[in-house]
Subunit: 393 residues, 2 copies
Amino acid sequence: MSAKYEKNYFSSDFTLGILGGGQLGKMLLYETRKFDIRTKVLDASDEAPCKIACDQFVLGSLMDYDTVIDFGQDVDVLTIEIENVNLDALEQLEENGKTVYPPTRALRTIQNKAKQKLFYVDNGIPTAPFSRFAYKSEINDSIANGALEFPFIWKAAQFGYDGQGVKVVRKLEDLEALPTGECIAEKMIDFKNELAVIVCRNPNGEVRTYPVVEMEFHPEANQVEYVICPARIDDKVARKAQEIALKVSEKIGHIGLLAVELFQTQDDEILVNEVAPRPHNSGHYSIEASYTNQFEQHIRAILNLPLGNTQSKVAGIMVNLVGAENHTGEVLYEHMEEILALDGVTPHIYGKKQTRPFRKMGHVTIVNQDLAKAREIAQQVKETIKVISKQDG
Amino acid sequence: MSAKYEKNYFSSDFTLGILGGGQLGKMLLYETRKFDIRTKVLDASDEAPCKIACDQFVLGSLMDYDTVIDFGQDVDVLTIEIENVNLDALEQLEENGKTVYPPTRALRTIQNKAKQKLFYVDNGIPTAPFSRFAYKSEINDSIANGALEFPFIWKAAQFGYDGQGVKVVRKLEDLEALPTGECIAEKMIDFKNELAVIVCRNPNGEVRTYPVVEMEFHPEANQVEYVICPARIDDKVARKAQEIALKVSEKIGHIGLLAVELFQTQDDEILVNEVAPRPHNSGHYSIEASYTNQFEQHIRAILNLPLGNTQSKVAGIMVNLVGAENHTGEVLYEHMEEILALDGVTPHIYGKKQTRPFRKMGHVTIVNQDLAKAREIAQQVKETIKVISKQDG
């Protein structure tokens, strides 16, 4: 085969390996189908969403060194859909010449939140003030000697996900139930907006940013209700957010997507909250709204294909579908037909059989030429659909 | 379960059965995933594209009565992705109370092209003049006695697909290689444009049409090069095309999609060419361009869910990817990276391992706010990508 065919992912024996078989992986797999790319997925659950959507499914722990090494041997490019994977194994695979994107070095910076925060400080990237503690007990000492004041945000350094591993600490007792290991205590930011920017980068050095999105919070519950693209902010603030996201992207040296979560402070400073080197909840709107959705973009990037247009065809709003309070058991999506009757509404049901309060069960995207109209319909969606259990319904 | 949950396809033991496991079925299956609908597919090929994308795959002939009956027993709704299925079996399943969409009656009208043409005549739907023959030999008699004149279009009454079963007959010898069975001879229409309209209909009686699309032909090769949405025609002609498509839809009594292929004559009359009661090549543009793509729409319709918005977010053009002349063997997509670098370009590779001249291997969609710009890029795509074989490349 001549050089021009070397990267022919579209018809050869090329296999893409994905560590993690969750919902993000599943949405990634749909896009591999368009390109007819062979896929192989590793996950510890025999009921992983990806199982039905990949060419080959391997059951095993993402944290087990030998399992990851074995899995990676015969794939051509290895990527992740979750950060909690065995990095020593990834590093070994890289040393053996395997293509691993994002690179292990970027994952090491990101996987440990204390390391991630130190990285921001070392690289002059604005972030909320914090202290790092090797053990939780050190927090108590720090409070006792006046170095740390309530309230603050406790974050586990490792293995937090989906709201796990983060807690607002307002008094000593709040610390009691928390894990004892490495953690950080971060200053609470009185932010005006929570924003996010997805940056994509391929090995050729091509870099593009998606528009800034905005998380709109419920006025009382302090929970994100809507992810809105484009964010309803000043152009100047949007440009600053994109510049900072690009700086993080460049310094961290990722390949593929990097979702950068940001705070816009009351005086319009931009602070980096945290990053994820993969498709991200804040980019789900892109399936319906963008010229190139985040999943296709991640594949383009890690295969060193030209990046696609990150702009939007229409305004997009995403609503997470979470399990209703007081409902546990076999899931039922109540009033689904009513939201399907609304203009520009697309539900994405993740296929989890059991619901429980606040469990992420899917998301709904609302698109419209007019952002204000999309926002109205999004509210109707939010107020109409209920994720309940059959037993309690 | 109370009445309001009866149609809860999203979390119950509901199974959608699909007769046919080809590429159309595969694109349909992607959309079932968004709704988390359990799927079961029947196809005679163990390498059917759907095999990897459905919950359950059954190997067997779509034309075998017992196979189709067995397959249909335990699904809740049965649909098709190809017309050539055993209709007696479908009818029996319907009589047993099974939900079959499109209904067998509509499929009977469509499956046999002579019957389809008679249906247009009976219902006052404009179509090209034709004669029906029980055997090909009757054509020769008809020519001999002057009732039929060259040139005309011969069409097999049954089982034609992908250009098979249709031939322009200019002299007696052109008839020689053709099958001997039931057929029609249709007057050649000197058309200005070939158009198509997709109509969707659900059991509740909700009906919507997609915009009129236009097939642009190669100036010399007389082959469709681009499917363009919206068609570049007068509003008056577009309205007439939609009205006629709606009339066909109403009279034929389909449920789901009905793709209506039309001729616009030199004096702006609209004639119905033929119809397909399923997702159609002329609607592939909708994946990237429409608020609700044709595959999601077909699912909404056959599950009696509210129909989605059929309008476009942006202009869309589709280019079929067919095997290059003089290339037979293991497929190679040459210059794929170059087309991926163009704005708004999405390739859909169907995953066939072997190419041969003119074999349909995939399609590429080009979207843009500006139709003229999309048309320019579509031409670049057409002139750049080559579907060749590795051996000959």
